[in-house]
């Protein structure tokens, strides 16, 4: 099968990386792109030369993309000269689901106007608002708030395009002026997400609710730090940040439910696409989820059209979409780990399977764990280098831990969804489902702790 998207994604990514290393003025890049375009008009029919020029054009497109992304608008909040102790009035709207923690509420705020005691000006950009106290707001609500402006110290925020933090002394300094901004579908999805969170929190103990919420909704704020660190050490933290496997489980549940309701096969596939997209937004559309959703949608369409799919092509499409939306994501560790693990599985797993002649194993109960072991090992090969560079850690236990914990996490995801359904049917039924969830989560945590006690399970350097 041809893999044209692989080359295009590779060239586009290379262009972005080159642009971050070499500073070339945007005008020069446009001039080069224009010249290549002109040449292409005459040489497109030429096999070799046409392809070389097209490849160059995609590379330059990647460079322009990052360069342009880094250009800050004249009205951007970053251009506004502020005094750190001075109070400013900011008008705009809430652009995220607010997070309340330790008597503090924080949310992303899309700013439209800024005013000091002298004047009022138009403005744009996104800032992080931190309010002392609990504030009841939701996505899309228009606010006028009064607070001081600060520069974020965390590089993570700056990489996300957030260059200012507004601190508000109390909810008193915030006035709601409307609720018509934002994307109505996103507002609806976030309301649905809050409702699910409330259900989990009412039916489960705090630790269990935190872990189930992380696995199903990708909301890791309620996972205790110790548990999170233990998961990082065992290389199983990907189950707490909604990853490709979660999307797979959700897709499986959707297809299964639609099958139970006797929905025709073709309609089942069509319905699965918007439901998977909804789940993608529900979990905050993080890189692994977007990647997995795009790959799943490509797979579903291919199945619908009775065409063959290629994992490298669909993965490349996901790269182009994610980097097209935000080229900065190429520097994100989540992006790198997500694609490294999938590509490593796609590349190494079939080769290892052939090498160990797993297809010749007749006994299914032996073949299944052996295959799982090879998948886990392939992912480890792909991600071990990145983990060593970013976390200064090597975790040989990862292969075994994933082999045991990933199936358990899939069962927890399934039982978490079952709990939601049971809660809507009867509280008595929900109680037994909740007990199963509690048991599975405690089993997962015990297993993880046990694995970490194995000598040389992980080591820092």
């Amino acid at each position: 099968m041809k893999k044209p998207l692989v080359w295009l994604a590779l060239l586009f990514s290379l262009g972005i990386l080159a642009s971050s290393c070499i500073k070339i003025p945007l005008a020069w890049l446009y001039l080069s792109a224009g010249s290549i375009l002109l040449a292409l008009i005459f040489l497109l029919k030429r096999k070799f030369l046409g392809e070389i020029l097209l490849a160059l054009l995609v590379l330059i497109c990647g460079m322009i993309w990052l360069n342009n992304y880094w250009v800050i608008s004249g009205r951007h909040i970053l251009r506004f000269h502020y005094q750190s102790q001075e109070v400013y009035v900011l008008r705009g709207w809430v652009n995220s689901q607010p997070a309340a923690e330790d008597n503090r509420t924080s949310f992303l705020f899309r700013i439209e106007e800024i005013a000091d005691d002298q004047s009022r000006q138009t403005c744009c950009g996104e800032i992080l608002v931190m309010v002392k106290g609990i504030l009841q707001v939701e996505y899309g609500e228009e606010l006028i708030l009064e607070g001081t402006l600060h520069r974020p110290f965390r590089g993570y925020l700056r990489r996300q395009g957030i260059f200012r933090i507004a601190r508000v002394k109390s909810p008193y300094f915030i006035r709601k002026t409307g609720s018509n901004k934002g994307w109505p579908i996103k507002r609806m999805i976030l309301r649905f997400k809050s409702a699910i969170e409330t259900r989990f929190e009412s039916g489960l103990t705090p630790i269990c609710a935190g872990i189930v919420e992380a696995m199903i909704l990708g909301e890791e704020k309620n996972v205790p730090v110790k548990i999170y660190k233990d998961m990082v050490r065992s290389g199983t933290v990907h189950i707490l940040v909604v990853s490709g496997s979660n999307v797979g489980v959700v897709g499986f549940i959707i297809i299964l439910l639609l099958k139970i309701f006797r929905v025709p096969r073709r309609l089942r596939l069509i319905l699965c696409v918007p439901l998977l997209l909804t789940y993608c937004f529900l979990t905050g559309a993080s890189n692994p989820v977007v990647r997995a959703t795009i790959m799943a949608v490509v797979f579903l369409f291919a199945y619908f059209l009775k065409r063959q799919t290629d994992i490298y092509n669909s993965c490349s499409l996901a790269v182009i979409v994610i980097l097209g939306l935000n080229p900065n994501q190429i520097f994100d560790i989540g992006f790198q780990l997500s694609f490294a693990s999938v590509l490593a599985i796609a590349f190494f797993y079939p080769r290892l399977k052939d090498r160990f002649k797993l297809d010749q194993l007749k006994c299914r109960c032996l073949r299944f764990p052996a295959e799982g072991c090879l998948v886990s090992f392939s992912a480890w090969i792909g991600t071990a280098g990145l983990i060593a560079v970013y976390f200064r850690m090597v975790s040989p236990i990862t292969v075994l831990a994933n082999l045991l914990i990933v199936p358990l996490a899939s069962i927890i995801t399934l039982s978490g969804f079952s709990l939601l359904v049971a809660q809507s049917v009867s509280s008595y039924l929900a109680l037994s489902f909740a007990s199963v969830n509690e048991f599975l989560v405690s089993l997962l945590l015990s297993l993880n702790s046990l694995l970490l006690q194995v000598p040389h399970a992980y080591f820092y350097f």
Binding site: L8, L40, S73, F80, A115, D116, D117, S119, Y172
Partner: protein, 109 residues
């Protein structure tokens, strides 16, 4: 390398041209959008209205603690709205010094 047919090349070329055009327009929009002044002056900016603030907010005024905030609320209930900041001196425990410290941070609506 890319192994594309003529039609595929045309599609890629079309998409790249559109992307470059979009990026260019986006760049121009960013470049030529300076900050515009809309209006001026906002006297109550960042200040606390002593006629509407709740207990938690009143506690943000320097020198005002739990008890004094409660007394301000009681005073408001009994005597209605404050007409000037000096009215605060009628409250037990609200000294001249506290009023001076608070003056820059409060306003009357």
């Amino acid at each position: 390398m890319l192994n594309l047919t003529k039609e595929e090349k045309q599609v890629v070329l079309f998409l790249v041209v559109i992307a470059l055009l979009g990026a260019g327009l986006n760049f121009l929009a960013k470049k030529f959008s300076p900050i515009r002044a809309i209006a001026c002056a906002n006297p109550s900016l960042g200040k606390i209205s002593i006629n509407t603030a709740d207990k938690l907010t009143l506690k943000l005024i320097p020198g005002v603690g739990e008890k004094l905030a409660e007394r301000i609320l009681d005073y408001r209930k009994e005597n209605g709205k404050f007409s000037e900041p000096e009215d605060l001196r009628n409250i037990k425990g609200f000294s001249n010094r506290t009023l001076e410290k608070a003056r820059g941070l409060i306003f009357i609506e």
